[in-house]
Symmetry: C2
Subunit: 246 residues, 2 copies
Amino acid sequence: MAERFGRRIPEPTVVRLPVYQRVLSDLAMRSVPTVSSAELAEACGVNAAKVRKDLSYFGSYGTPGTGYDVGYLLGQIRRELGVDKERPVVICGVGNLGHALAGSPGFRTAGFHVVGLFDVEQARLGEVVAGTPVQHISELADVCRREQVTIAVVATPASVAQDVSETLAAAGVTAILNFAPAVLSLPDGVHVRHVDLSAELHVLAFYQAHPETASSRQNGAPRRADHPTQPTFSPGTVDNGSALAT
Amino acid sequence: MAERFGRRIPEPTVVRLPVYQRVLSDLAMRSVPTVSSAELAEACGVNAAKVRKDLSYFGSYGTPGTGYDVGYLLGQIRRELGVDKERPVVICGVGNLGHALAGSPGFRTAGFHVVGLFDVEQARLGEVVAGTPVQHISELADVCRREQVTIAVVATPASVAQDVSETLAAAGVTAILNFAPAVLSLPDGVHVRHVDLSAELHVLAFYQAHPETASSRQNGAPRRADHPTQPTFSPGTVDNGSALAT
DNA sequence: TTTTGTGAAAAGATTCACAGCG
DNA sequence: CGCTGTGAATCTTTTCACAAAA
């Protein structure tokens, strides 16, 4: 057992947890009983040492010589991620992207429950998207408070993202997933993650313009790839309803 | 002048470039002639030392006592990002998310030009989304080759993402923005960026479940915030058509 | 033997702090 | 003076490599 109670889990590790979770779900669904760090690493596109170190942060318990019990490990990660409880979220901005997110099985099935959709556009008010009606943004604060919402998605234009997120913060939201291309300044205690779709494309463009700087992303199977249980390619990704599109 | 020719720009720096670009565009549009690293840092949510270090990687040229010339710096960054030329992209999977991306001004205006939309769903074939008709995925390779496409977006279900991206790679695509919740294994030389929307939500959930591990994201204005030119909040984000939704 | 868990080393990124330019 | 550019110091993350568990 590694980390005593003063565990401070590195952010890169936290970001990898959902990946482990998804891969483990897959394995569980295919009734695979155990995985080694090497196999899990292969399936997640990272290396085995990293997997072991990551898992060690939350005192996980693999079996030397055997690996990790898939079900147990999955449970641990789910608990760590707080996915064991359903969480209400609201989505602000019901344009194309807001629509996509609202309808996404990924959101609906992953422990999140969309309890409100908000916009200002007359034409969109009242429209029912994936079972939830679009309300005017003026209702936002009330709904957040009534439903005890603490996580929100901002998918508005950049020009209103700051205002909307201040409203959210004031209504008790402490975690915001921001898709607007704008930097939000919010009180300490509000955790913001920013996903900037066109920025991602720019980053790709950069690497094309600079092949010399090419991603050292040598997805490291150490030494040799240990007995890959599956053919390296298309390792039977089960479509467990987590896709966001098509 | 810093970096001689053997410049190897750190990935975190590359990821920040599009942010600098956007903020500088804003400033340029508001006819601001120069920025200091402190001001730019404030607007980008990073700290001044980081801005200076980042910019120094590509031998940029600020003026001590004055700061950086907005127009010149913007031009430099644009050139670095390879945004000076229009780049053709294709989008695979025209579900909600694919729609959102295809219609996004962020994509259209940022130096990218959508030259193909692909799906398998009968119902969607022929539909015209933002000026581009949806074609059957069997056309994918031809179009990529004909149009010299090197950047692609994968917005399909996880179950087909590997196949689709192999097709892309075989047709000459070397940069893929993957929205499917699946790890892609592709030949070296193909650069993949993975955006996993539900994973982002999970990361937020994690931090809510673990407030002790709270983001050290002390967006560091060093010492004191130097003469902020703007009131700290809502610093006049111009809505220059880069919003993705609402 | 196989595979974990983990100290210790290495690599990488951020921040400091200051010399020197305008 | 104010502000850049950058070495050096610090902090963080990754990788190595191996003792011990099954």
